[in-house]
Symmetry: C2
Subunit: 335 residues, 2 copies
């Protein structure tokens, strides 16, 4: 059911039957490592390009989530996936090997929740029996494409973030045991004029706040409805800005309610500067740690507002500012 202009309350909240998180070598040192299903100790995943390695990460997450759900790829009606690579090739090549009817999406690092939101709405009223939604990112593939090849060792400013090498996936079904997707808010593009691709947190924070504010308003709930509100990958820089914006907009968030996947994934590791980023950031944290915490009963209701910077290397070269977006999905433990 449409609520307000841009939110859905699901009449038959889809069940997250299983979720999976796969990481690279650096992610194995994450404070959330226990919630990953597997790590690869070779950043190349035995492939001859980083892009091909990213395909393997995504395939691995999809195979793992199928295994955990006890399903085969032919049971799945639709794969909804996207990633940061030009023309989302990681997703399209994974869709080829998985042989599941495929809806390609792009929302940069917001793709995780864009996919989960659309999957849930398609499933809500009988559009599918099972949908697999997934996303991936690869540190070296992304850095090379958007900034500098990591081999250059280019100096980074403190606002920069570390693209997660990993993939996250979830399978949604109409019934069964597991956390349920109860509502979602599709964001609109917010662009405050930031042009620096080394400062995604500042660029994306206003979009996250806008979507969370819209979600609370349209669903007619207070922030305290949730046990946890997490943004996707604002990092420490963007998190501080988001907090200020919440205050400015009169949104009171109690101590400990609001966090950010980009801060959680690597903790305060100085190597990552402002925190984690990439499509796999919110995907691995949500589909690993956060859902596990919900399955353990530590969380009853959470809102994940994944955040995406919709720039391209070319739009940056053409001196355009960075259009940003955030999509929020509410996941609840309902018996």
């Amino acid at each position: 059911m449409l609520v307000g202009r841009q939110s859905w309350r699901f009449d038959n909240p889809p069940v997250i039957l299983a979720s999976a998180a796969i990481g690279g070598p650096f992610e194995s040192k994450s404070p959330l490592a226990d919630d990953f299903d597997a790590f690869h100790d070779d950043i190349w995943l035995k492939q001859n390009s980083f892009e091909k390695a990213e395909v393997k990460l995504l395939e691995h997450a999809c195979q793992k989530v199928l295994e955990k759900a006890g399903l085969q790829s032919q049971d799945i009606n639709f794969l909804i996936s996207g990633d940061l690579d030009n023309q989302i090739t990681a997703s399209s090549f994974a869709a080829r090997s998985l042989a599941i009817p495929y809806i390609g999406m792009f929302g940069a690092c917001s793709t995780s929740m864009e996919g989960l939101a659309v999957a849930s709405k398609l499933l809500d009223n009988g559009g599918a029996n099972y949908i697999l939604t997934a996303t991936a990112s690869h540190n070296a593939a992304t850095e090379k494409q958007f900034r500098y090849p990591t081999e250059y060792g280019a100096q980074k400013p403190p606002t920069s973030q570390w693209t997660v090498t990993g993939a996250g996936a979830a399978i949604l079904g109409k019934e069964g045991n597991g956390p349920r997707v109860t509502s979602a808010t599709i964001g609109h593009v917010v662009d405050m004029g930031v042009k620096d691709p080394f400062n995604m947190g500042e660029a994306m924070a206003p979009a996250a706040v806008d979507t969370i504010e819209t979600h609370l308003k349209e669903m007619n709930i207070e922030p305290d409805y949730y046990d946890l509100i997490a943004t996707g990958d604002l990092g420490f820089t963007g998190y501080a800005i988001a907090n200020k914006l919440f205050q400015k907009h009169g949104i009171q968030l109690r101590e400990g309610l609001y966090t950010d996947c980009g801060m959680l994934i690597y903790g305060k590791n100085p190597k990552v500067f402002s925190g984690g980023s990439g499509c796999a950031c919110s995907a691995t944290v949500t589909y690993g740690n956060l859902l596990n915490r919900m399955r353990r009963g530590e969380l009853k209701r959470m809102l994940i507002a994944a955040t995406g910077a919709l720039l391209s290397p070319l739009s940056y070269q053409q001196k355009q500012s960075i259009p940003c977006i955030s999509h929020a999905v509410s996941i609840e433990s309902i018996q």
Copy 2:
């Protein structure tokens, strides 16, 4: 309602309240020119880059379709859009100026029908009041990104196609007058090993045939159910291959039933070699000529199977074959 594995029959078939097609200077000489809403005689659209010009094309199509539907952008719940530019920047920048909650998609040249299919399913069961779905392509932006800058004057083989400079858009609503979207089939990736980015028709034809065959089977209908079946942008080369594949698969298509938007848009103009291509190819032909023919009563039922080559310049450089996809949407004139 889900039918088979990958098709939807819409319980409340969404109405195409209005559609619009915008073209560039070359498109103004199209045999279908009368069905375009406007042309730009400057391929730069007064911008300083082709990518910015593409944003303008997309914005123009969206503004035109809003005007034709008698709606304002704030009436629209969701914009579903995608394009060929890296990180679909044409769509994201247009979404910024239109200020409509935005679901970014990528299906290469299949984006037109990917968007229409998903928009219809979201609208079918109360997920929106109005959805605007759109896509664009720009000849010079696309050629530069995927092959060679047009200024180089690189020689082309006879299998190559001409990327349409244009944009197409449609607004769907729950009720009102106009053709209705009755069913849709989401395709899966088909890759027969073609690696030549100058021969998209051969690469994509098997995906189109696969999706059309699946559609007919899952919907339990014969090809004769339709007055017209059109593929997206196979061009003359891909059309001939598709015809052979239909025969091989025992699918009988009566004379005149099957056509291709890539053949229709420029006719037999030797300048375009095998025909038109690009996201705007199936979008402008469908949202211009074909829907106008339906509105005039010349067509009652048509199936549009847009086709997409999901390669990236990098996947080609890394010597990968081209994963292809096709999404089919059935549009009918129902009183």
